[in-house]
């Protein structure tokens, strides 16, 4: 990990020139904001006063919706104006400064200022049981640290009831592939009941079956901070070893120091999901305060180092169990993120008794031009026999795709079903019992 001293040097050499330019832009934005918003607020005030004078205080006695939507409209328009003013400045700042800092820390990491973790994945972690009505986020980073794949972004999720929205989660949402394989789900939720009520609190917690059965662990400090729920008692202990529990406790303390208010964790589908609730935005530039203060810029660096440090803090690079480090190409990383490059479908795995390489009897020759109804035309890269059909990997103009041979029209079309003779010679499809 990069040190502070290295960052200070990077700041001097690479960031400061950009920052000086951006400072000019920032001052322009700030002035514009004052120019537009102060008259706007005065206007709104006058409007409210006139309405009150004419309709009387009936405006406030009116049904909540009218009053609420009036206020919402005022603030909505005000925010829209502000957002329009600062939009390009924020975009430039993130493009130069944040991207620079991410690249400086680790140039294999991919930063996208408008990217966010998919809503599906946020729901998948099952930490927050409420349905999400409004979901937004930005500042997504995707990459690999050591043997661990990570991705994180800022997320703001809300649910609405009767025109008011309540925050489900606002802060940093971090996903990493865990160093052990497991089937069920385990949750670490902040433990308020036990700290406040002691033994009775624990009893109450065991009645809350929303996340599964309560799992009582041995580490007393850990137990005071977290309530653990899981689908399986043994699996929860398999994941939460005493050493991991200690690491989580230390990480929780570290996160409080970094400004995170709450920590929720869940282990689902061999991944670890960490939801750190922040009250502040992490990677946003300041509009009304100068950006030439190195302390402020260093805060971005510190935040980034803190998040990337989760892998070390939880020792996720220790891969001595059956889940060996992934050596495969990071194709599936792309499919998990929104707004990324087109998904690259992996070729189906070959089954025993079935030859995996293109034979002369394959439907298309490698390099042959084929066309598809939806994807257009492309060249064949490979053909794989899977069961009764051929899966053909084609390089279309939109990217590589794996499609069934019967959907492709090519030059000379050979048989695209595996005939009985071929079955006899090359082995039966794997699912057919003798």
């Amino acid at each position: 990990m990069r040190t502070r001293a290295e960052f200070d040097e990077f700041y001097e050499q690479n960031l400061l020139p950009h920052l000086k330019e951006l400072e000019v832009e920032r001052i322009k934005c700030a002035r514009k904001a004052y120019l537009y918003l102060i008259p706007y607020s005065i206007f709104c005030l006058l409007l409210t006063v006139t309405l009150v004078k004419n309709i009387g205080f009936a405006l406030f006695d009116a049904p909540g919706e009218i009053c609420g939507s009036y206020i919402a409209l005022i603030f909505g328009i005000g925010y829209a104006i502000y957002y329009a003013i600062i939009k390009s400045y924020v975009s430039d700042f993130k493009e130069y400064i944040i991207t620079g800092i991410v690249g400086f820390v680790d140039d294999t990491l991919k930063y996208q200022k408008d990217g966010k973790i998919k809503r599906k994945e946020f729901r998948k972690c099952k930490i927050f049981k409420m349905g999400v009505d409004t979901y937004s986020g930005d500042d997504r980073v995707v990459g690999k640290i050591g043997s661990t794949k990570i991705r994180f972004s800022e997320i703001h999720a809300e649910y609405t009831t009767n025109d008011t929205s309540h925050t489900i989660f606002k802060g940093l949402f971090f996903v990493a592939d865990f160093n052990k394989d497991f089937q069920g789900r385990t949750f670490l939720l902040p433990d308020r009941a036990e700290a406040a009520l002691g033994w009775i609190g624990t009893k109450l917690q065991s009645l809350n079956k929303a996340h599964g059965d309560l799992v009582k662990l041995e580490d007393p400090v850990f137990e005071r901070l977290f309530a653990v729920y899981g689908s399986d008692q043994i699996e929860a202990r398999y994941i939460l070893t005493p050493s991991l529990m200690e690491r989580v406790v230390n990480f929780k303390r570290k996160s409080l120091g970094a400004g995170a208010r709450e920590l929720h964790m869940s282990f689902v589908d061999s991944n670890v999901y960490i939801a750190l609730s922040y009250s502040r935005n992490l990677f946003e530039p300041s509009v009304f305060k100068t950006i030439l203060d190195p302390q402020d810029i260093r805060q971005y660096f510190d935040d980034l180092i803190f998040v990337l440090g989760i892998v070390e803090d939880l020792n996720l690079n220790l891969r001595i169990w059956s889940k060996m480090p992934t050596q495969a190409v990071d194709d599936d990383l792309e499919s998990q993120v929104e707004g990324g490059e087109s998904a690259v479908d992996p070729l189906p795995a070959s089954k025993p008794g079935v030859l995996p390489y293109a034979l002369p009897v394959a439907p298309f020759a490698i390099g042959e031009g084929v066309s598809h109804a939806a994807h257009g035309s492309g060249t064949v890269l490979a053909c794989v026999m899977t069961g009764q059909q051929w899966a053909v990997r084609v390089d279309f103009s939109t990217g590589e795709r794996s499609v069934q041979s019967r959907f492709l029209k090519g030059g000379e079309r050979k048989a695209h079903l595996i005939s009985r003779e071929m079955q006899v010679e090359y082995g039966r499809p794997y699912w057919k019992k003798d």
Binding site: K180, K216, L217, E218, Q233, I234, E235, R237, Y238, T241, I320, W321, S322, M324
Partner: protein, 189 residues
């Protein structure tokens, strides 16, 4: 009906509900303990299945460890043969643990073995089983704690003595493991 009869009936009903719930919760805890012990059994079986694989992979390289290897094979045969009481199972398991850890440490002396792909995967499987086993043991201890709590605390201890339920013992580390490891001694072997 006079109020005193109603009160008596209500009290009797509450009392009956209490007795039933105490009985049920004790049965529940007792079964959790049995279930957790069965979980340990499953992991032990997995470990026994890995031992022949380990012995065959390792014996080509580890010429000096032949004795330990034959010992482990014998212990495994005994464990798999069945007809062991719970305590015997635990004792045997502890002995096998000690022998296995001895072999794993001795592997340090054989760099060829450490680099072999077969051995690395085997080591990962063994680590996996050890991790699961230790999780199963911890789960068992947790269940036993809850069960013992119920058997000893008031008012369920009255019910427990009526049902003739006794305390169970936790899983403890074997005596050999608890003592400090003398590293020099290990490397002298």
């Amino acid at each position: 009906m006079s109020t005193s009869i109603i009160i008596a009936v209500v009290i009797a009903a509450v009392f009956a509900v209490m007795i039933v719930s105490l009985y049920n919760s004790l049965i529940n805890k007792k079964n959790s303990v049995e279930n957790a012990f069965a979980g340990i059994d499953v992991q032990l079986t997995k470990r026994y299945d890995l031992i022949p694989n380990l012995v065959s992979t390792v014996q080509k390289y580890m010429k000096h460890e032949r004795e330990t290897l034959t010992e482990i094979t014998a212990m495994r045969a005994r464990a798999v043969s069945g007809n062991l009481s719970d305590n015997e199972k635990v004792a045997l398991d502890n002995q096998i643990s000690t022998a296995l850890s001895g072999i794993m440490i001795a592997v340090e002396n054989y760099p060829d073995l450490k680099a072999s792909q077969n051995f690395l995967q085997l080591q990962a499987s063994l680590n996996e089983v050890e991790e699961q086993l230790s999780a199963a043991r911890r789960a068992f201890n947790a269940m036993v704690t809850e069960y013992n709590n119920a058997v000893q605390m008031f008012p369920s201890n009255i019910m427990a003595s009526y049902m003739n339920l006794e305390e169970r013992t936790w899983f403890e580390a074997p005596e050999v493991k608890k003592g400090d490891i003398n590293v020099k001694e290990l490397f002298d072997n």
